[in-house]
């Protein structure tokens, strides 16, 4: 259950801050799950990040506020780790006007321009060239911002992946392509979807830096690998790497069978590699006095999410005027 694997541990405050983010994400996601069961969140799409927290938190800790993050529809965790307020995020889930996207985007289309969090995209692979374009703007403007682009393992077999990664290599764009390899597309295992299951090796096809495969359940390892990748992207050009991880709530709410289908695998990941448990254990070992702080963070997460739900439920829904607004810039 150890993490960091001998690498130098960040200081206590840093670890605690990561712990804070990870328990906040977990609490937020599990609350979403319950709210959906209670039909307080509706719709057909809701893809939860439970289990993958270390990837988002460890990766986003490696970039600066001026840098950029973009992801697919499994976007709650990335939004939270990027520092977006849970209230407007929860309001978005509930389709409220106070949601980050005015209730028009929903779970799959969170974004916060002020946090340089660019979304939240629902077409597999569709956000990859957007990441390249955002990086191009930085390069074009002579800044050294980096774009961190999260990519699903299943998405890496789509044409967008090939074209966007190649373009980023040809133009030496400052993008870190981080594959969150949670082993599955929806139900299809990576071994049955990809001729090359070691996805990071695809870097060679673009002549770009191969950042390797990392343990995505180890927030310290993720952060370390991302630090390197970000430094490379900032100076030299794109990097591709993958983090091995696992989703606890199946593909999304439409996936009613997730806890039956692969029961043993799921239980094993939860029991042996849970990223929060592992970070907690590591903290306790390195800083035996940190249990109370951790408990306080857990309680704070619960309070924060409760407040977010309250904020969301009390917010007004959009109306007929909102419906027709922002089709175009007028």
């Amino acid at each position: 259950m150890d993490i960091a694997n001998g690498a130098a541990l960040p200081d206590r405050d840093t670890l605690l801050d990561w712990y804070r983010q990870m328990v906040l994400i977990r609490e937020f996601e599990e609350t979403c799950y319950d709210l959906y069961e209670e039909k307080r969140i509706t719709g057909v799409y809701l893809h939860l990040y439970s289990g993958q927290e270390a990837v988002g938190v460890g990766a986003l800790a490696a970039i600066e506020p001026r840098d950029h993050a973009i992801t697919a529809y499994r976007d709650h965790g990335v939004a939270l780790a990027r520092g977006v307020d849970p209230g407007p995020l929860m309001a978005e889930m509930m389709g409220k006007r106070s949601g980050v996207s005015g209730g028009k985007g929903g779970s799959m289309h969170l974004a916060s321009r002020e946090h340089n969090f660019w979304g939240g995209f629902a077409i597999v692979g569709g956000h990859l060239p957007l990441a390249a374009g955002i990086a191009l703007e930085a390069q074009y403007s002579g800044r050294d911002d980096v774009v961190l682009c999260f990519v699903g393992d299943g998405s890496s077999n789509n044409g967008y992946f090939h074209e966007a990664l190649n373009l980023s290599a040809v133009w030496r764009l400052p993008v870190v392509w981080l594959i969150e390899n949670n082993l599955y597309g929806m139900g299809t295992h990576i071994d049955e979807a990809s001729g090359q299951p070691l996805l990071h090796k695809r870097a060679l096809a673009y002549g770009m830096r191969d950042g390797g495969r990392i343990d995505g359940q180890d927030v310290v390892a993720v952060n370390g690998a991302l630090d390197e990748a970000v430094a490379h992207a900032r100076g030299e050009g794109p990097v591709l790497l993958e983090a091995l991880t696992y989703r606890y709530r199946g593909h999304g709410v439409s996936d009613r069978q997730y806890n039956v289908r692969l029961k043993d695998e799921l239980e094993e990941w939860k029991a042996e590699r849970d990223p929060i448990t592992r970070l907690g254990a590591c903290l306790e070992e390195a800083h035996p006095d940190s249990r109370p702080a951790m408990s306080a963070l857990e309680q704070a997460a619960r309070d924060q999410v409760l407040a977010a739900v309250k904020f969301a439920e009390e917010s007004p829904a959009p109306d007929a005027d909102d419906l027709v607004r922002n089709v175009y810039v007028e």
């Binding site: 569709g126 077999n157 929806m186 419906l323």
Partner: protein
Amino acid sequence: MAARNQPMREALRKALREEMLRDERVFVMGEEVGKWQGTHRITRGLYEEFGDRRVRDTPISEMAICGAAVGAAMAGLRPVAEMMTINFAFLALDAIVNHAAKIRYMFDGQFSVPLVFRAASGWGDQATASHSHAPEPIFAHFPGLYVAAPATPGDAYGMLKTAIRDENPVLFSESIALYPKPGPVPDDEDHLVPVGKGTIRREGADVTLVAWARGVEWSLQAAGQLEREGVNCEVVDMRWLRPLDMDLVYDSFRKTNRCVIVEESLPMYSFGSEIAAGIQENMFDHMDAPVKRVSAMDLPLPYARDIELMALPDADKVVAAVKEIV
């Protein structure tokens, strides 16, 4: 003919299964169609029954799914390729239009491309802008392809069989909202609905409602309401967006001299545009009033439930349109 009441979902599954049993060349491919049982459960049980040779899970690769279906069809198989939702067919537009639809013509008949692209279509249910489309009209713009869009389980059954047996490529649109809706499905393994033939769903003398897929349901509901107010609607279900059964529309229009077109698609350059244009061109002397169109509002679809539904057609909007012209 004997028939059994079944949801459209089951009718489609039955048609697929029977055609696979009937013809060894028929196979299914697409994302999650096999072990996962199909996202919309249309292929449920087929993987277990037919195995991975004939029920083929694919990577998330719409261009390759559609393109490989074209190649396999040229070579003699009869692929039924599933687009998990019709939105993803946007990524394969080139394979569908520039390849499937044109190969026969470009090589002057050396090849035929007998395949079906099944695509789950439509919106509602907060699927948001990029997952909420009924864009069948843009596919039907192109010759070389047929476009099917059944409104009832019986038609879904017969039209899918027709599409599979036909020698031409067919974009087969299935309305997600209609999947659970039941209706009679003929007990006849050779029940075929001819390509390009619409049907009258309800006879009436005052106004013709022309619709497809979900539009038929809204039209029938509106017709029911209007009947109580003494307006007698005829409902034409076009069933195919290409070829278009304009004769059927004209026959009805000759009787009613009034028409409202009802569809789930966006309003511009759409089904309503085409049908209205055809009526005024060919039925000019029979027109007692302008043809009206009821469609989705001209905007991307939002997530929030209340405003999403405002943007969609419904029976009330159809009733209001009819009242404008009677």
